[in-house]
Subunit: 223 residues, 2 copies
């Protein structure tokens, strides 16, 4: 087996398919694109707090942000019920269809697999257990234990420390260019999953590998 020894997976959107959330927003009466405004604003505020030196739990940003965005919308139900309906959808997502096969191929290549999420370890635990692939992973890590969110360097250093390896022995797998850039700056190799054929932003450092689906990665690393 060639390096890297440890494959570090992002969780939200990388492993989980967030598309069903759009229907939850429609259910409560929110206009199209509200899901995208919400998720981009949630990360904007979380990254701002990270840049300013603070930290807070993912669920706090998610719930408060949702409440703020839905407060300006004519809803089909009470605000509390609308927030609950969307948030319960967030914790009931499934993995993308390409994930189980891709995860098993990487595990069978002899690599160690972990997750590193800006969300809680509990969300990853449920997601991977439901998909029948929980046991392929050695650790389900959260930035809650790192004290700082991705893409700050301390988050990736925390994962390397926990796994007892150097950053250069790890590869970060994510759909988000900001995560690829942060991991790259922290010394990890990177694999960008580009499931919908979007351009990679010019202002972020480029990924080591670009793949359309996760099963491609095991082949790339074996080459």
């Amino acid at each position: 087996m060639t390096a890297p020894q440890v494959v570090v997976f992002d969780v939200n959107e990388t492993l989980s398919d967030m598309a069903p959330l759009a229907a939850r927003f429609r259910d409560v009466g929110a206009p199209e694109l509200t899901d995208r405004v919400w998720f981009a604003s949630l990360l904007r505020d979380a990254f701002a707090l990270t840049a300013a030196g603070g930290t807070e739990r993912f669920a706090t940003f998610a719930t408060a942000g949702l409440r703020s965005i839905l407060a300006g919308v004519p809803l089909t139900r009470e605000l509390d019920a609308a927030v609950e309906h969307v948030m319960s959808g967030f914790t009931a997502l499934d993995v993308h269809p390409d994930v189980p096969g891709g995860v098993r191929a990487l595990k069978q290549s002899g690599r160690r697999l972990v997750t590193l999420s800006n969300g809680s370890a509990g969300v990853a635990e449920r997601l991977l257990s439901t998909a029948g692939i929980r046991d392929e992973f050695e650790h389900l890590l959260s930035v809650e234990d790192a004290g700082v969110w991705k893409p700050a360097p301390g988050s990736y250093a925390y994962a390397a420390r926990t796994c007892g390896v150097q950053p250069a022995d790890m590869i970060l797998v994510a759909v988000h260019p900001w995560d690829i850039d942060g991991a790259n700056r922290a010394g990890l190799a990177t694999a960008w999953i580009n499931r919908d054929g979007r351009p990679y932003p010019e202002y972020f450092t480029a990924p080591t590998h670009t793949i359309a689906e996760l099963p491609e990665l095991a082949d790339r690393l074996a080459a």
Copy 2:
């Protein structure tokens, strides 16, 4: 005059009224809320790069982000022309109606006024000149010269250094809670302009003053 001596204004959305941008997005065929997805995603990526230790110009994020979002939309004109139409709207905004009176009242109270923007100093120069209030400001500062974006602490320290004062001698005025939080952590007093009656996010440190319109601030500081 009581402290603070120096009033530091954010520029985009705090002084400029970005509402006309929604019409520019409609002109090119983009669905409602695209303007909000774009601006939140732009700041998300810029703050991520800041947290990871990098920096890039505002216009680079703005143009590349717009191109990426509009690439997936059935447009009424070519992509290049659509991007140009929105970006030219961004550099042709006017100040909010409450700004000129509020700025003059603060200046007449004997305070020094500066701007500190994540955008370029040129955008602030045009905006304030057009509004006839350019001469009320001693410096128009950009994070391009600080080497780091707001809300990282180095951006506010740069403004204090340039003005030759301590952070505690300054008050940051902004509509964005993330800017209030960052300035507060950096030791400045803060004034949050809440023009549309939204709740202040619980995950950010609270503003020193909350006002609905800028002219209230001179009275608050005199009290």
